[in-house]
Amino acid sequence: MNTDAASRVAARRDYRRFLARHSFIEMPARERARAILDPGSFRELLGPFDRIKSPWLPLQGIVAQADDGVVLARGTLSGEPALVAAIESAYQGGSMGEVSGAKIAGALELACRDCEQGRPVLPVLLLETGGVRLQEANLGLAAIAEIHAAIVALRRHVPVVGVIAGMVGCFGGMSLAAALCSHLLVTRQARLGMNGPEVIEQEAGIVELDAADRALIWSLIGGEQRRAVGLADDLLEDDAEAIAAAVRGAFARGMPALERSAQVEHYLERLATIDPQQPLDGKMLRALWNEGTAP
């Protein structure tokens, strides 16, 4: 076979691989959780038939969904007991209310209890959220603080793996939850930021940030940029099988020597290289912080 024919075969194979790919981004939360866990092992906790809804939304004339936008599933990952918490971005923007927040915090607390009793549970967070649900304001914020507490406690026993696939991304208080994860997996479509672009534009003006400039937004907080400067660990294609495999790979790597959110000296050194008087964009930061992976 000459090289021309070989490359045609390879191209056809790539094309077939592309067609065979199952988009993870297009899946709703329940399917995402199912796609991550070992086949046939998915068992939902507090599912729609348990009808635990937001007590606050109906009081404000908003229809409450029966799972409050969070799917919790027990199952296995390569045969090991696991927990997946998947946020449904199609419901209220994936926002954290009292119930959705308590579901995630409560599940992580139980996983921690099991770990303390010598029965490890591998926790996976599928993060797709704008942060606090403002209709439940302080109860959402309180739940997010409890999620942070649970991740920090659980991380002492097992790695906590976070996935941001897109297209909503991960913002607000939940961006801190992503930052607390031992391993953070992102796609090119993912965004990870504390303040959503619209909020920055509103609070600081369009001169600070034009929220409609999508290329600019992704160059600052997109998955590829986050991976390039070491604020995420793996950059993945939008492929359910590849993401499921990467989650297993992350657990196989075990606990990081030092969790990213505990790398104080490293980040103080990094910030010492920054002069806020000088212009800075995504590309320039890659050059300054060009190491890709955590130490």
């Binding site: 009292e98 409560g106 607390e109 309180a142 507490a149 790398q263």
Partner: protein, 276 residues
């Protein structure tokens, strides 16, 4: 655009009132105050974030928790953990008057989410290591800034004053995001405690250990300071007698009224956790 008419000095006022001139530690930032000072006969670490009009990051000049502040908080909390590894765990007191996290393009690029997470991580780690961590709310405790500085505490204490507030987002921005007017938002807050900004409403949620009334929050008298010290000591003793987690936020009498769903979710989750 939101512009504060005047910068709150409460963080600095209370930090100085509680620590005096004692034990100040150079934090390297004018916006982060740290001191080890006596509290009821034992050393405690006090930490406050205060406005710094010359902050090198322009969007963190009015009392926000910015990139530098987040990492500095993490550094000074972790310093106390390391110093007490083989000794009595000193209490850590977060004096809270934080208007918000810093909103800026540069902040996002540099990972303000990680800086705030690093601070939350440090406070939570201190708690898990056995340090009593107490938050004292003397002004605003807003959103991501509170998550970074104060919300991981074992016990939260607040001064009963109209300027003491807890919320997920400033009123103007929250109104825009939820497509309501500020007046509507305020009315909703009067009906639903979780949506209110004032500390008395927050106290109804069961997340607060103590609301201290009758204090001059802007210019505390000596007796005011002594009362607050006594409450801090009570919270420390209560923490030392209990667990390292945040369970008290679900077991308080007010939480049993207001956080019914938070409790119910956990109860039913525990029932379903192990397969039948």
């Amino acid at each position: 655009m939101s512009a504060e008419p005047s910068l709150s000095q409460r963080g600095r006022v209370w930090f100085e009132a509680l620590t005096g001139d004692a034990g100040a530690i150079a934090s390297g930032l004018r916006s982060v105050c740290v001191a080890d000072a006596d509290l009821g006969g034992q050393p405690a670490r006090f930490i406050a974030v205060v406005p710094d009009a010359q902050n090198r990051f322009p969007r963190a000049r009015t009392g926000e928790v910015g990139i530098d502040e987040g990492w500095a908080l993490a550094f000074h909390v972790r310093h106390a953990i390391a110093a007490d590894r083989d000794a009595a765990r000193r209490p850590i007191i977060a004096v809270v008057d934080v208007t918000s996290q810093a909103y800026g393009r540069r902040e996002e690029l540099l990972g303000i989410h990680l800086a705030c997470a690093a601070a939350a991580d440090a406070y939570a780690s201190a708690r898990l290591a056995g340090h009593p961590v107490i938050s004292l709310l003397v002004g605003k405790a807003m959103s991501g800034a509170f998550l970074a500085h104060g919300y991981q505490a074992n016990r939260i204490i607040a001064l009963d004053s109209p300027e003491v507030m807890v919320h997920a987002m400033g009123k103007q921005a929250a109104a825009r995001v939820t497509r309501r007017s500020v007046a509507e938002l305020e009315m909703l807050g009067e009906t639903f405690a979780p949506m209110a900004y004032d500390i008395r409403s927050f106290a109804k949620l069961g997340l607060l250990y103590k609301l201290i009334s009758g204090i001059d929050a802007d210019a505390p008298e000596r007796t005011d300071v002594e009362r607050v010290r006594a409450e801090l000591c009570r919270a420390i003793a209560d923490t030392r007698a209990g667990t390292h987690g945040l369970a008290s936020r679900l077991t308080s009498p007010a939480a049993r009224e207001s956080r019914v769903a938070s409790i119910e979710v956990r109860r039913r989750l525990a029932e379903q956790w192990d397969a039948a």
